[in-house]
Symmetry: C2
Subunit: 195 residues, 2 copies
């Protein structure tokens, strides 16, 4: 029986390094990280991790961490499913929120929400919306639109009479733009951070 080298432990260390430095460690750095005295020990270890499918290497041999390692947040089940055990944690997929939420980074912006015009859609004042600039909105997309020289969030609805902008708050009425309709972008995600 071979000696037990705790691969999961190493992966955890690699992930930690990645999160701190935002880059893959060199062999020398891994040597210190794992407590080896030879870079070749790292080489052997990486071979195993590669066989196990935990990572790949790029053209120059540098480790290229796979999403489950790169990722910063683990995706688990639903609230109803409750909290995971230690083993479930290990196996859970992981993603970065950036990759998950932002398809088009160069055209995506964060805006803070003012006003309560979309409160019934679960968008509260102070929330942050991720807005993609450029694409034509689809039916019932939430858009950032200029109405009466002011920018607000509204549903984008096409009907027989053309286009109307509909709030998600009975306090307000829908708006049918007279001549020009300026669409800033389409809301792709809503983010609310506590504290």
């Amino acid at each position: 029986m071979p000696r037990d080298i705790r691969l999961a432990e190493k992966i955890r260390q690699l992930r930690h390094f990645w999160r701190q430095e935002r880059r893959a460690p060199s062999y020398a750095e891994m040597m210190e990280l794992f407590g080896y005295k030879s870079r070749n020990a790292v080489f052997g270890l990486l071979l195993k991790l590669e066989e196990a499918g935990c990572l790949t290497k790029d053209d120059h041999g540098r480790v290229a961490l796979l999403p489950p390692i790169t990722g910063t947040v683990r995706v688990l089940g639903s609230v109803a499913a409750g909290f995971p055990t230690q083993e479930e944690e290990q196996e859970a997929d992981a993603i970065t929120l950036d990759e998950y939420l932002v398809k088009n980074p160069d055209n995506t912006f964060m805006l803070t929400v003012r006003g309560d015009s979309m409160i019934n859609a679960g968008i509260l004042p102070g929330d942050i919306v991720l807005v993609e600039k450029g694409p034509r909105p689809n039916q019932n997309d939430i858009v950032v639109a200029r109405v009466d020289d002011e920018w607000t969030l509204k549903y984008y609805v096409r009907d027989a009479a053309g286009v109307r902008l509909e709030p998600a708050n009975p306090k307000y009425r829908f708006i049918r733009p007279q001549r020009s309709l300026e669409i800033g972008g389409v809301v792709r995600a809503v983010i609310r951070k506590y504290n």
Copy 2:
């Protein structure tokens, strides 16, 4: 007058590389990226970018992209402020959503929300909550708690009689745990993705 080297253009290219490869480019790679025929041209360019405060280098000279370059999403004003011009875009700060939302990656999980018990707090079924495992909840924190062998979201409220779990939906009543109170974690953020 010196020749006009478009620094903003270079930064954009750097950012693009970073997003694709998830790492800083080497000098050789930057040489190709910028269309130079000498790595030393890259060296000179980096000196400028460094002077301009656009980036720093690590111990081995590798470029360490600053948050405005690293970042994936640019932070802009509020919805009321409307949409930015091209120049404003360039100057806007940028952050990664991971850094912004997740303080403690190893103890943070994503859960999908089932049920409407927190609908008045703007948390809808299907939303994703970022839950931090471990910390003691503060007054009025939203927590993932086990109630009657089922996990749900509730406000955590300490009062004279002890602790009660309060929903944000008039359809439901608050709950005062009899003996044990199991707290899975504290909700740090809510995310809603459209599509």
